[in-house]
């Protein structure tokens, strides 16, 4: 080897393209940018979806108890597909909810948050050439995950049908057009992703709407990936209906759930899938070749949380009764706040998100024609930098081709302490006054 060429290559990076092609088109991520902005500028953060109130005492106590119990083996690997106490209680719980027998070893798998559950679904079930139907607006990870699995996302929008009586719009007013939905199914369609209650709109799909989707799944022999992480957060006496319980659906559906959303502990990253063994066996294969085990101690504590809820199911002390009650109040508070300043909230039936129409409120942030950034992105960035209030632009939840369809909406998270919501109201009121006086 000539000394010259060796010393050149000592400084050199890899000279050939280094990253894998599967990363094409999936490198951008809204959260990386907006979480940074919120961390830098926000005084009141209603952006990223996590509670700023504490996780319930019974859950954190379970964590502490497990640690203090002297069983130091809780610091070592547990069963790869799910800590036995957790999969057992999840099976018991979902047996009740679905009205069918479940085997904790084969019908349940624990994952690192619902996020990793979704990853396992797409990797296990979607192949190159497969189409996957995604309902817009959607939790942003579905699209890159489908792409990373080599699939083609096919989008179908929820369309707003504003109420004619001048009342505030509800998330129920955003609906699929049945004919349009049916037209999206082709012989290449492998799966449809359903998210109910829906992030970001808060829509809770009705039995009729789910029935429509189910019929099409059965007709076209399509799988359903059902993201139900907000299953306990439904308001106004509405009911969360599980599509897997509809005729013909159990055998073709994977249900995704989240301890982070169920127990207000997003940082624990414990999620799960529930479904038929014929589908879950493939998710297990992906899981054992990607993370293999999930952290033990959080699973132990979540198991105890579920055991408590199993005993209190339906009772007023149940966290699953109390949490939605508290959040409904906060929702109503935020609705009032936004309505009071001229932002038009779409009242969500579920989740802890609320989308508001800012078209009457946007005078501070002028339109820039031919900008490559959708208007709501610019508005949200301006708002956090100048008013210290963080929220997420709705076009973040649309595919690349549709980002300019709805550019006058932003999403707020209301899983926040009263003080936080009050502070948000103060910012909004002050802002309104500044506008009217200028």
């Amino acid at each position: 080897k000539a000394p010259n060429s060796l010393s050149f290559s000592l400084q050199a990076k890899m000279s050939r393209p280094v990253q894998a092609r599967r990363l094409e088109g999936i490198d951008k991520n809204i959260w990386v940018e907006f979480v940074k902005l919120a961390a830098t500028y926000s005084k009141v953060n209603l952006g990223q979806g996590f509670p700023d109130f504490p996780a319930p005492g019974f859950l954190t106590e379970a964590f502490t108890r497990a640690l203090g119990g002297g069983n130091h083996m809780l610091h070592q690997y547990t069963r790869a597909f799910g800590h036995p106490p957790l999969v057992k209680v999840l099976a018991q719980f979902f047996e009740k909810l679905l009205g069918r027998d479940l085997d904790p070893m084969t019908n349940v798998m624990v994952t690192v948050g619902a996020y990793q559950a979704l990853f396992c679904c797409f990797q296990a079930l979607v192949d190159e050439g497969d189409e996957v139907i995604i309902i817009e607006p959607f939790f942003d990870c579905y699209e890159p995950m489908v792409k990373m699995a080599g699939g083609t996302p096919v989008f179908v929008p929820l369309r707003p049908n504003p109420p004619k009586d001048g009342k505030l719009m509800s998330s129920a007013d955003w609906q699929l057009d049945p004919a349009e939905l049916a037209s999206k199914f082709s012989e290449r369609t492998k799966a449809i992703v359903l998210n109910s209650p829906n992030n970001p709109l808060g829509k809770v799909f009705s039995r009729g709407e789910l029935g429509l989707i189910a019929e099409l799944c059965v007709k076209h022999d399509v799988l359903c990936i059902s993201d139900e992480v907000y299953e306990w957060l439904v308001y106004d006496g509405k009911q969360h209906i599980r599509i897997a319980s509809l005729q013909g659906m159990w055998d073709r559906t994977v249900i995704v759930g989240s301890a982070g959303k169920t127990f207000s502990a997003t940082g624990w990253k414990v999620g799960w899938v529930v479904g038929p063994n014929r589908l879950l066996q493939h998710l297990r294969t992906v899981h054992q070749n990607s993370v293999y085990h999930c952290a033990t101690i959080a699973q132990e504590a979540v198991a105890q949380g579920f055991q408590r809820e199993l005993m209190l199911y339906g009772k007023p002390e149940s966290y699953f009764v109390q949490l939605p009650k508290e959040l409904q109040q906060k929702r109503d508070w935020l609705v009032q706040s936004l309505d009071g300043v001229g932002m038009k909230p779409i009242v969500p039936e579920g989740t802890y998100f609320l989308v508001a129409d800012i078209s009457q409120f946007k005078s501070d942030v002028p339109d820039v024609p031919n900008s490559d950034e959708p208007y709501d992105y610019r508005f949200a960035k301006w708002m956090v930098k100048n008013k210290g209030l963080a929220a997420i632009p709705l076009s973040a939840f649309y595919s690349e081709g549709h980002k300019n369809n709805y550019t006058n909406f932003i999403r707020f998270c209301f899983a926040k302490e009263e003080a936080t919501l009050k502070a948000a109201n103060d910012i909004l009121q002050k802002w309104k006054q500044e506008k009217t006086s200028s």
Binding site: R22, G68, A265, N289, S290, A295
Partner: protein, 399 residues
């Protein structure tokens, strides 16, 4: 399949690689403290909790002697397993070849295949004609290694200290690998989870510190192995920004963020040991001293039972040549390699478990390694006492 054995309490389990010793008390205490802090129960930064990546950058700056940016040069993952997955998914694709040294930690092969690439195997060979007393006897043939590199070779996976043999690659051995990586413009994925577990007379050397290697190496570490907390499932990848950024893209599209409370507790534990990295009481050094005496005890017991242990220079595994016992298993299903049959026989008749070495080999080399089984010795004294009873009585019951 062998982890089911762990559930049976009557069997002395020296198979699966997990400690049954307690993690250090300050590590457990740090975790107990975090449960009380509200915001630590919610999402943290996706690529790694700020206090953790800061602590990791400080520790590894010390070890590597170079500046490491906590935000761009580090990714925190779900165990080293998650780092291996993120690295391979980020940098390996269809048409690529990846060199894997046998025996190998079993996930390398399926992960490379899942990325659509072709694993190319090269075995460690015993230089003493099969008579091995130490892991240092197992070496790569430089000419054979060179022959495995071609224009399709995207990466080589290095594991030092090595599971299962316990080999600690020397400076010279790493230089041979480094020269080939540079010559063929290849990446190095360096699995260094056992980096702190090196025994007297040995030094762990990071291949990324060799000239020309930082820019083409991703180095992987593990909290589970560093602090005896395998159930925390936290690991990390460290390397140059232009490589790590692709791992971060994989991470943001697979699980997004790792658990917060565990990362915070780990960060605090790292600060405690970082401050005493010049002190022999630092856990990074005290654990390996503790394990060295377990290693020596295990080796002695095995020899007395007539087995031939390969004494490891690092890690917490020991491979053992069982052919000396001449246990006749020819009447058992022939399709299984000898070591699988031996382990099953040993579990059933001796109530002692281990892992067959052919589980760690590609198809061509299974024959070469089928006389070896792997024991794990990061076990508490009572477990080793129970193993001692079995081994001392071994010869009384054989036949």
């Amino acid at each position: 399949e062998f982890t089911k054995v762990a559930a049976d309490p009557s069997i002395v389990n020296l198979g699966q690689g997990l400690p049954d010793i307690s993690p250090p008390s300050y590590v457990k205490e740090e975790l107990a403290k975090v449960a009380a802090v509200d915001r630590l129960n919610q999402y943290t930064r996706g690529f790694g909790h700020p206090s953790l990546v800061k602590a990791l950058s400080q520790v590894y700056e010390q070890v590597c002697g170079r500046k490491i940016d906590p935000l761009t040069d580090i990714l925190v993952t779900v165990g080293a397993y998650g780092s291996l997955f993120s690295t391979i998914q980020a940098l390996i694709e269809e048409g690529d070849e990846v060199i894997i040294i046998e025996p190998f930690y079993d996930c390398y092969e399926p992960m490379v295949k899942m990325a659509g690439a072709k694993p190319v195997f090269i075995p460690l060979r015993c230089k003493n004609d099969g008579n091995s007393a130490s892991s240092a006897d197992w070496v790569l043939d430089p000419a054979e290694l060179a022959s495995k590199f071609n224009s399709k070779t995207k990466a080589i996976i290095l594991n030092t200290p090595h599971n299962p043999i316990g080999k600690v690659f020397t400076q010279e051995e790493l230089q041979v690998i480094a020269d080939l990586c540079i010559k063929h413009d290849t990446l190095c994925i360096s699995d260094e989870v056992y980096e702190w577990l090196v025994y007297k007379g040995n030094k762990h050397i990071k291949i990324a510190t060799l000239p020309g290697m930082w820019e083409r190496t991703v180095t992987i570490g593990s909290a589970g192995k560093t602090y005896s907390v395998t159930g925390w499932k936290l690991g990390w990848s460290i390397g140059p920004e232009y490589l790590i950024k692709h791992l971060q893209v994989v991470h943001q599209n697979t699980l997004y963020t790792c658990p917060t409370p565990l990362q915070e507790a780990l960060a605090q534990a790292f600060w405690i040991d970082y401050k005493r990295m010049d002190d022999p009481d630092c856990y990074f050094y005290s654990l390996s001293r503790e394990l060295e005496s377990k290693r020596d005890r295990m080796a002695q017991l095995l020899k007395e039972a007539g087995l031939k242990p390969v004494v490891p220079d690092g890690g917490y595994f020991m491979i053992v040549d069982v052919s000396t016992l001449n246990v006749d298993l020819s009447d058992v299903d022939e399709k299984q390699p000898y070591d699988y049959k031996f382990v099953k026989w040993m579990i059933a008749s001796k109530k002692l478990s281990a892992i067959p070495l052919s589980a760690f080999c590609g198809p061509e080399t299974k024959k070469q390694f089928e006389k070896y089984i792997r024991f794990c010795f990061i076990k508490k004294d009572s477990t080793l006492d129970a193993a001692e009873v079995i081994l001392k009585n071994w010869n009384k019951q054989t036949g």
